[in-house]
């Protein structure tokens, strides 16, 4: 694939590479600066592997002060910077460019403080999402956002992309679960925004930073909310004859005022792929599967489930299968969360991420199928149905340039469809490079200019993650 353009590398910067490396080496420990081609290679892409750019250098600082020193140096030298968490972005948010220095936070991976009385944890940005929950789960707590990549992805990256997960129907996404950050600004100044309290004075800068895709500064620490685990949780599998009936059931459940903690959708191709991988006990005789998880007291779970089952029956559900043990529950979620990895074993795919009003689900599912078939490709759907966040996986062969291009076109058509029915280009993966050139589908010039003017307050020279989010054409300075 090569449809998405990168800015032409600045020849002046490339020519100054040796001097820049020397400058950086004075600022960080020797093992924190990566310059050889072999060692830089793992940083040339992220989870959008179709695009690769070898960065000028990679810096892996150990402290906020080192991040500040490197950022200040790059700003003064006019060198672009691409912040990086764990490099699991599906939208290409962490893909570098040839004239940029990658600043990775992977060495900043300590949990600094756990405070149960105030239900917060203070962590460094390189801590993985799952490690936060891991640090508090023995005491009955958890960190709510749970992206599929939670074993690998970092809190810093989650903040950059405002990541979600399967359970945000009840608990919200990253922006609803972060109370404070330490942010290093482009000029090297270090600021604390928010903290252990529930709101901060002045403009909601924290709300602006979350989801800003590394364009406003580099987050090195975060204060996140930790929540007490529910009394119990029960995932239930609902097998429907077709996707359309499953989609209609989702809309009806939400419409009846029922908010299960998670409501995940899989179509037939996704069920087959995930079951073969995880042996989760998914029903194989259905056209679409909903994994609906209820949680809370036994009384609450019983009440919710009874209503959900009644609605599912009205929509022609075939199989209803409740988890009977912790092992079954783990298998059900393992199957769902490994969907992307399992798909990757059978084909190359691009994972789309758009959002639609839930009432549009049946229509959009049919239409997506037509779109992808129109390009002669296959699609597997696995997504967060409760909040209308679609993740169609478009399957293709990356060694066939024609197919690769068609897959990208099909993906673009699907995202445009999301906007047409009243949704958004992205749910939880961010814009990155992947959806950058589609921003004009959702926003007009005034909308985009206002966003760019806010961006310019932090980075007037387009040095921070400059290839991302905003179309390369039509950019404004401030």
């Amino acid at each position: 694939m090569s449809a998405i353009a990168f800015p032409a590398p600045d020849a002046g910067i490339l020519a100054r590479r040796d001097a820049i490396l020397a400058g950086l080496s004075a600022l960080v420990a020797p093992d924190a600066l990566i310059t050889s081609e072999d060692e830089r290679r793992p940083y040339e892409t992220d989870a959008l592997t179709a695009y690769r750019r070898m960065p000028l250098a990679v810096v892996l600082p150990s402290t906020t002060q080192e991040v500040a020193a490197v950022l200040r140096y790059c700003a003064e030298a006019g060198v672009p910077v691409v912040p990086r968490g764990a490099g699991t972005s599906l939208a290409g948010g962490a893909i570098p460019q040839e004239d940029a220095v990658v600043i990775g936070v992977s060495k900043m991976n300590r949990i600094l403080e756990i405070d149960y009385a105030n239900r917060i944890a203070r962590v460094q940005a390189g801590v993985t999402n799952l490690a936060v929950t891991g640090a508090v789960s023995a005491d009955g707590f958890f960190y709510a956002p749970d992206p599929s990549s939670q074993l690998a992805c970092s809190i810093g990256g989650n903040i950059g992309m405002n990541s979600g997960g399967a359970h945000c129907l009840k608990y919200g996404v990253t922006t609803n679960n972060v109370l404070g950050v330490t942010l290093v600004m482009l000029d090297g100044s270090i600021v604390d925004i928010g903290g252990g309290h529930l709101d901060a004075p002045g403009y909601d800068l924290l709300g602006l930073i979350v989801g800003s895709e590394g364009q406003l500064g580099i987050v090195t620490e975060a204060t996140v909310r930790i929540l007490r685990q529910a009394e119990g949780a029960r995932p239930v599998l609902f097998g429907f004859p077709t996707s359309v009936e499953a989609g209609a059931a989702v809309a009806a459940i939400i419409g009846a005022g029922i908010i299960p903690v998670a409501m995940e959708f899989m179509d037939k191709p996704a069920i087959e792929i995930c079951e073969a991988f995880a042996h989760a006990g998914y029903p194989m005789d259905c056209g679409a599967l909903l994994i609906i998880e209820v949680e809370g007291s036994e009384a609450e779970m019983d009440a919710q489930l009874a209503r959900i089952v009644a609605i599912a029956r009205e929509h022609g559900v075939g199989t209803v299968k409740e988890s009977r043990s912790a092992m079954e529950t783990a298998a059900i979620w393992k199957g769902r969360k490994s969907a992307f990895g399992a798909t990757g074993r059978i084909a190359d795919y691009i994972c789309m991420d758009g959002t639609i009003p839930t009432g549009q689900l049946p229509f959009v599912l049919e239409r997506m199928d037509e779109i992808v078939k129109g390009y002669g490709l296959r699609v597997a759907n696995v997504f967060h149905a409760g909040d209308g966040n679609l993740h169609p996986l478009i399957l293709y062969n990356c060694n066939d340039p024609d197919e690769a291009q068609k897959a990208e076109q099909a993906g673009n058509d699907i995202l445009k469809l999301c906007v047409e029915v009243g949704g958004c280009l992205t749910g939880e993966h961010g814009v990155g490079i992947e959806k950058r050139d589609l921003m004009t589908v959702q926003f007009n010039e005034a909308d985009l200019h206002q966003q760019m003017r806010v961006r310019a307050v932090f980075d007037p020279r387009w040095l921070l993650n400059p290839a991302k989010v905003f179309p390369l054409e039509g950019r404004i300075a401030a």
Binding site: N118, A200, L205, G296, T426
Partner: protein, 394 residues
């Protein structure tokens, strides 16, 4: 001069003329929160009174959109008819500010106005999923949308929530909504000290029994005896079970009384609206801090500011504080008390002269002040929208 546009196009034209004339402009919804913030020097007023009506209500998608001047009351009634509600229980400022009029949905967004449910369901900013506003270039700008996961590009919705009109004139807002709970009960423990109460609330909020609101009213605040409150909301059977479990978990603090229906609603409305401080001559502060630090903050303030009275919401993390409206209304002492604890203080009610001389919102660190001024300028280059309402120069 009062401008009351009835369309977005008219509002754009008004703003363009105001910007050309560089006239400081006050933005007005129902007028129930005027006086919140630093005193203004506005010579013109732009009202949302002509922009009313619900534009989108999809109960099945749990979303409601309305023009900014729509009365909050209409939104709440419309939602109630379908068994739904705003998730964040917005405070009504009329009691504590002594104002009249009808609060509007636009002002709820512009002020990020939340209430006791904030601890569990988030603030107004967490439920606000889309805005349309007119910036200081006279351009209509939209951000967010009508779906829950709404952020594409920079999240301008968050910036607008809580900007008190300083970034632009909201014309339309969209919120996510939630189903109303089947049953609501409040557990009340009596006679606890502040420390014991916050310990109780913290244990409850760290339990799996999901309190949706948690407050403590010390003795003399609305009743002689101190009262510690926890509110449960859920399916009927679940609420009964959880009330019993909480009573068991917290039994060392005594046996709670259980109230529901109107008695429970009244109690929480008084907490939400800081109604106990209505109509007095005192200055009123709102302090936000980590909950377990609440009692230490109030103890320090009590030593420095004679006559201070307070109560706690948000499990101890929100303190409503009334002090004599003399001198700096306790500003220096209150902010000094918070300094070692973290958190911040907002002067919600005080005479104009005090609010003109004391920072109403907590002063920001220099780089953040610089960023805030830059953001203001990016929306409002001529500096006409509510100039200085939050900070001098913003």
């Amino acid at each position: 001069m009062l401008h009351t546009p009835s369309t977005e196009a008219q509002a754009c034209a008004v703003v363009a003329s105001i910007v050309a004339a560089r006239v400081p402009l006050a933005i007005r919804g129902g007028g129930t929160r005027t006086g919140l913030g630093r005193p203004d020097n506005a010579v013109s007023t732009l009202s949302s009174a002509g922009l009313t009506g619900i534009t989108l209500y999809e109960p099945a998608e749990m979303v409601i959109g309305a023009r900014a001047g729509t009365p909050l009351k209409l939104i709440e009634e419309t939602l109630a008819e379908r068994g739904q509600m705003l998730p964040f229980e917005p405070m009504d400022h009329r009691a504590v500010l002594g104002t009249e009029g009808e609060p509007t949905i636009g002002a709820v967004a512009a002020g990020n106005i939340s209430g006791p449910r904030r601890i569990n369901a988030g603030a107004a900013r967490d439920s606000l999923i889309g805005v349309r506003l007119i910036n200081g270039r006279g351009e209509l700008v939209k951000s967010g949308g009508r779906v829950m996961k709404n952020v594409t590009g920079l999240d301008l919705v968050k910036l607008v929530a809580g900007s008190f009109g300083t970034l632009g004139f909201l014309t339309e807002v969209t919120f996510r909504v939630l189903p109303r709970p089947e049953r609501v009960v409040t557990l009340i423990w009596e006679g606890l000290s502040d420390e014991a109460a916050v310990t109780l609330l913290s244990a409850a909020l760290g339990s799996p029994f999901e309190p949706m609101a948690a407050a403590h009213l010390p003795g003399g605040i609305g009743a002689d005896e101190a009262r510690t409150l926890l509110r449960l909301e859920n399916f009927t059977a679940s609420v009964g079970y959880r009330a019993a479990e909480l009573a068991r978990l917290l039994k060392r603090h005594g046996r709670p009384e259980l109230v529901e229906g109107r008695a429970s609603e009244t109690l929480w409305r008084e907490v939400r609206d800081a109604a106990v401080f209505a109509g007095t001559q005192e200055a009123v502060w709102r302090l936000s801090l980590a909950p377990s630090h609440g009692p230490r903050a109030t103890a320090a303030i009590a030593r420095a500011v004679p006559g201070a009275r307070w109560f706690y919401d948000w499990g101890g993390g929100l303190i409503w504080l009334a002090v004599p409206a003399e001198g700096d209304a306790g500003a220096a002492a209150i902010r000094a008390a918070l300094k070692p604890l973290g958190g911040h203080a907002t002067l919600v009610r005080a005479p104009d002269a005090v609010r003109a001389s004391v920072p109403v919102f907590e002063p920001l660190a220099e780089p953040l002040m610089r960023v805030s001024a830059g953001i203001k300028k990016s929306f409002d280059p001529a500096g006409v929208f509510e100039p200085g309402r939050m900070y001098a120069g913003v």
